[in-house]
């Protein structure tokens, strides 16, 4: 129906992922920008917000964000779609990472590793995490609400202990061990035929390792996000949403609660496992403490800041959570320069910035910043703690809720509705 964008004449039309032409064009343009983003191209580097991404430091953060997004998509399946609070998401990430290093890592005197190629260990990381998800489901499905949150919290600590019990897999103590690189081999031969983790040439381009990793991750993220968005439209997705909204009513309608909750756990663990394996491989060497409660809370924070229950929210939240670190650093750095510049507002900035002992201020920019004037890294953690609270208090729908409000305002403009 031309000119009637909200009029649907069939169920298929209503449940389309991208119902309007505008959606499709926006998606196409978005994908185009995403593909061109890592290059220092003459047109792209003029665009606001995008041009800095030719920079390898930023591109590295974007890669980290993409990996994080995979895990957040998994938690979205469990918490956003099926409504189950999980504080144990990091545990499944750790399971995935351990599987990856056990299968793909190099063996040595006190380390285990089978040296298998990536096309084996990456899916296996997801599968093993999913199997463990299914294994704990009998306990997790029986309890609901906050009890479930505490049970899954227990998983994190059990996981940390297991990693201490098997230093042959996770690596010794605080150090961890070398994870297999992101590179494709047919089997155990010397040279990989496709390498995402070293600088080199692709066709006639010079591609840095970050650019290569970016493209590899982009393909995976787009596929996995598309699959999650699609799941919401299937019978399984509707069943999960029914369980989230009112579990007893769902059971009365014939939704097999136990089976669907187990499915949700398995799928979400699969995503977490893949994300964990990729993250460990991306960073190269990860201590077991990485998979702690704080990581789980970060996943939940991303979901809440982005907006619970929407795939677009997962992307916004992940972007926000990962980029905020760098953003806070930039702002503190900028404020420091302002304070030193003797400008009009330098006194104002000097009030916040402490440049060492004796100088008052809230944020320390000194090299060994510990103790009372908080270092910028602590400030970043505080900010996302505060943001969780602020979003829940004032904008429970998160960033995607804000985006929807803005969009609806302009849809009806100049009328109020």
């Amino acid at each position: 129906m031309r000119g009637r964008p909200n009029l649907y004449t069939s169920y298929e039309a209503e449940s389309q992922l991208f119902p309007t032409t505008t959606h499709k064009v926006a998606l196409g343009l978005g994908l185009l920008v995403l593909v061109l983003m890592p290059f220092d191209l003459p047109v792209i580097n003029q665009l606001p917000f995008v041009r800095f991404l030719g920079d390898s430091i930023w591109l590295r953060l974007v890669n980290k964000m993409l990996i994080f997004t995979i895990g957040a998509l998994g938690l979205h399946l469990l918490s956003g779609l099926a409504g189950q609070l999980s504080l144990g998401h990091a545990f499944f990430g750790g399971v995935g990472a351990s599987t990856a290093v056990l299968m793909g890592g190099k063996a040595s005197a006190n380390l285990w590793g089978w040296g298998l190629p990536m096309w084996v260990w990456l899916p296996a990381a997801g599968m093993v995490a999913a199997l463990i998800g299914i294994a704990i489901a009998p306990t997790a499905v029986r309890v609901r609400g906050l009890y479930l949150g505490i049970v899954t919290l227990g998983l994190v600590f059990i996981g940390l202990h297991l990693s201490r019990m098997f230093p042959e897999i996770a690596g010794p103590g605080d150090l961890g061990r070398k994870w297999p690189r992101m590179e494709l081999r047919l089997w155990k031969e010397e040279e990989p035929f496709l390498d995402f983790s070293r600088d080199g040439h692709w066709l006639w381009f010079d591609a840095s390792k970050h650019q290569k990793t970016y493209f590899f991750l982009l393909v995976i993220v787009v596929l996995m996000a598309w699959w999650v968005a699609n799941l919401g439209r299937t019978r399984t997705g509707r069943a999960l949403a029914a369980i989230r909204d009112r579990d007893i009513a769902a059971e009365i309608m014939g939704v097999h609660e136990y089976r669907y909750k187990t499915t949700a756990f398995a799928l979400s663990s699969f995503y977490a496992g893949v994300s964990g394996a990729l993250f460990a491989s991306f960073v190269g060497q990860v201590p077991p403490e990485q998979w702690s409660l704080r990581a789980s809370v970060t996943f939940l924070a991303a979901l809440l800041i982005g907006g619970m229950g929407r795939v677009s929210g997962v992307f916004m939240g992940s972007f926000f959570v990962i980029m905020s670190t760098r953003f806070v650093e930039e702002v503190v750095d900028w404020a420091k320069h302002q304070a030193e510049a003797d400008g009009l507002f330098s006194g104002f900035f000097d009030f916040f910035i402490s440049r060492g002992t004796g100088d008052g201020g809230l944020i320390s920019v000194a090299e060994t910043a510990m103790g009372y004037p908080l270092p910028a890294s602590a400030l970043d953690e505080i900010i996302y703690g505060v943001l969780i609270i602020v979003f829940l208090l004032f904008e429970p729908l998160g960033l995607s809720g804000i985006w929807m409000k803005v969009r609806n305002y302009w849809k009806g403009w100049p009328f109020s509705y």
Partner: protein, 324 residues
């Protein structure tokens, strides 16, 4: 929490007595923390994940009050132990006020919202308070000035630390107070609020005030347990840092095992978890190679998982009535 080497007693009986006291003391600490969770849960139907941060803040307050500001020592000049006890009271009150402030600004606006939302807000609070207190005390180890230090006394051949006795006594006093409290007007109001917020409002109960009381009392009790948990046999005898907050996460199994809404459950759950952890640490130490270093710290979670398989709402917890 650091794992201290076990002082070996002469014979099996002495070892048992020693282990028993250690278990009872650790169980009392878990029970105290569990009680603070239960108080908040009874009023707001929410697990307050920020309780660990509150405990940390309470310990930090004690160190500031007693060591830095010498309150009330600078005015009283009396015996040191009296000053210390008063300082503990002051620190607990300060933490209570912190709980009040936090409740007023972050929890009160959420009355009527899903419990999930409130729990997430407390997780956010946990991050904020913990980072502030950890980073503000990080490189300057603070002492608590515990009067009895690491002193022990002997029962037969068994060494018992005074801290154990103090922790058990503290828990006993607090639990007697809690049971009495639930019989007072405010306590009955709290039980009514826990049962049904709207019905309580219709009965003329000030639900906001009930929330405030629960948070303040919960924070104060958390501070007490945090202070005792940082004493010599358990902690570094100073303000516990980030690891100290994990002590609180090991108390969560106690709450869940006992039932989230029962003070008696908190006591029983705390003692079960405490005894399980200490006895496993003592009597399975020969198998430490098999179980892994620090295995006793995982025992609470294992006990919790087994307990939940048998009773999904805890031993004394009320089964949730679910309506369509």
């Amino acid at each position: 929490m650091t794992v201290l080497p076990v002082v070996f007693a002469a014979n099996a009986v002495d070892t048992f007595v020693q282990t028993f006291f250690r278990g009872a003391a650790l169980g009392s600490l878990y029970a105290l923390l569990a009680l603070s969770f239960v108080l908040v849960f009874k009023a707001t139907q929410t697990v307050n994940f920020a309780q660990g941060a509150m405990a940390l803040a309470g310990t930090w307050f004690l160190s500031m009050v007693f060591i830095d500001w010498e309150i009330p020592g600078r005015w009283l000049g009396g015996p040191m132990w009296l000053n210390w006890v008063l300082a503990v009271v002051v620190a607990a009150l300060m933490t209570g006020v912190l709980g009040l402030v936090v409740e007023r600004f972050t929890i009160r606006p959420l009355i009527g919202q899903p419990h999930f939302t409130m729990a997430m807000v407390t997780l956010g609070l946990e991050v904020v308070i913990q980072v502030v207190s950890v980073d503000a005390v990080f490189l300057t180890p603070r002492v608590l000035g515990v009067p009895w230090g690491a002193d022990t006394f002997r029962i037969g051949g068994a060494y018992v630390a005074w801290s154990y006795v103090a922790a058990i006594g503290m828990a006993a006093v607090t639990f007697i107070w809690a049971w009495q409290f639930f019989k007072t007007r405010a306590g009955v109001a709290m039980r009514a609020t826990a049962f049904d917020q709207e019905a309580a409002l219709a009965q003329g109960i000030n639900v906001g005030r009930v929330f405030a009381i629960a948070w303040a009392a919960g924070a104060a009790i958390a501070a007490l347990s945090g202070i005792f948990a940082s004493m010599s046999p358990w902690g570094p005898a100073g303000v516990a840092s980030r690891e100290g907050a994990f002590f609180v996460f090991r108390a969560l199994p106690a709450v869940v095992l006992g039932g989230l809404d029962s003070a008696t459950g908190a006591l029983v759950g705390g003692l079960i978890i405490g005894f399980a952890e200490v006895f496993a640490g003592q009597y399975l130490a020969d198998h430490a190679n098999l179980l892994g270093y620090g295995y006793q710290q995982v025992v609470p979670y294992v006990v919790m998982l087994i307990g939940l398989l048998i009773r999904p709402y805890g031993i004394f917890g009320t089964k949730e009535v679910r309506r369509v």
